[in-house]
Symmetry: C2
Subunit: 168 residues, 2 copies
DNA sequence: AAAGATTGAAGATTCAATCTTA
DNA sequence: TAAGATTGAATCTTCAATCTTT
């Protein structure tokens, strides 16, 4: 509980979190690119477009979902559209916006990548987490998700805000 | 346990892991850059150079520790050396290699960033994990760490290798 | 003005090729 | 020939400026 360093347990919980993520994410991405020629980012975008269904989803909403800047997502969408996996059309109700939709080709690509990818997720991550532990993880992630947005201003702001009794 | 999709619990454990990482990592990085002008990557490098002490550490070993390619680390080191935070010298025993060392300026920068950064780690991550849960996380990360290297060839290889009874 | 989206410029990282030493 | 490290080219992402519509 010192201020200048983490306890061994804190270090293990925090450092391992960072380390494990990098390890799993890198390997998962390498496999996806090698087997199906798409990046994890592209996979994530295609997955959410599938969830969005026929109506598609606004570019700005999609950017928020995949946690990228709007500029970054525009570039990803450029590549996916060039390859015919998605399409962008002007939003009917708000002519400023664009709605992105997955194409049949995109749907086929995602489906073909999906089985292998999920097997990889199981092999590289889920394999190492028991049922009970999955419950614990889910609970922790849920808390973190609930906290953001609740008391944090947009993005890159609100640095010194005092968060009163978060878990009291 | 279907092959084509994750169960709700699997999804919560896996998806939350990815999502939480991005959330925490992005915010942590923004704060570090804003308050002390260094990236999380640079922080990580400086931290490990501090651990390495007077003798420093070989570039290739350092690259492995921070999980970057050697080329990537060279670029990071270029920037840090330009700013006077680290120095590189030819290894005494193997003239092919370089040893990186932190400078007094680098040490001062890291120390100045450290307290604030650790407070941020606590605020953004540890805050949401109870003592018992930290133990669970540490155990899971330990398993993942133990598994890599044990049966996986170098990097980007060994894709289809069958891992017999990992956790039996 | 403000919001949605795109674009040019810049920064960071990887891959493959290259240079030097073992 | 191989290993350690660096470099050029390519890729991906962010930031700030811009363009269009509200």
């Amino acid at each position: 509980m010192q201020r200048d360093e983490l306890s061994p347990l804190e270090m293990a919980a925090w450092g391992g979190f960072m380390r494990s993520h990098t390890l799993v994410y890198q390997e998962l991405g390498r496999r996806l690119v090698k087997s199906h020629g798409i990046s994890l980012t592209a996979y994530d975008v295609l997955l959410r477009l599938t969830w969005a269904g026929r109506d598609g989803i606004r570019m700005s909403d999609l950017a928020a979902e995949v946690m990228m800047t709007s500029g970054g997502l525009t570039r990803v969408a450029d590549r996916l559209e060039r390859d015919g996996l998605i399409e962008r059309v002007r939003s009917a109700d708000d002519m400023r916006g664009y709605v992105a939709r997955i194409t049949p080709v995109g749907r086929r690509t995602l489906r073909s990548a999906n089985r292998r990818h999920l097997a990889d997720v199981r092999e590289l991550f889920l394999e190492y987490v028991t049922e009970d532990e999955r419950v614990v993880l889910a609970r922790v992630w849920g808390r973190i998700k609930a906290a953001q947005g609740a008391d944090r201003v947009p993005v890159g702001r609100g640095r010194n805000r005092r968060r009163p009794a978060e878990r009291a």
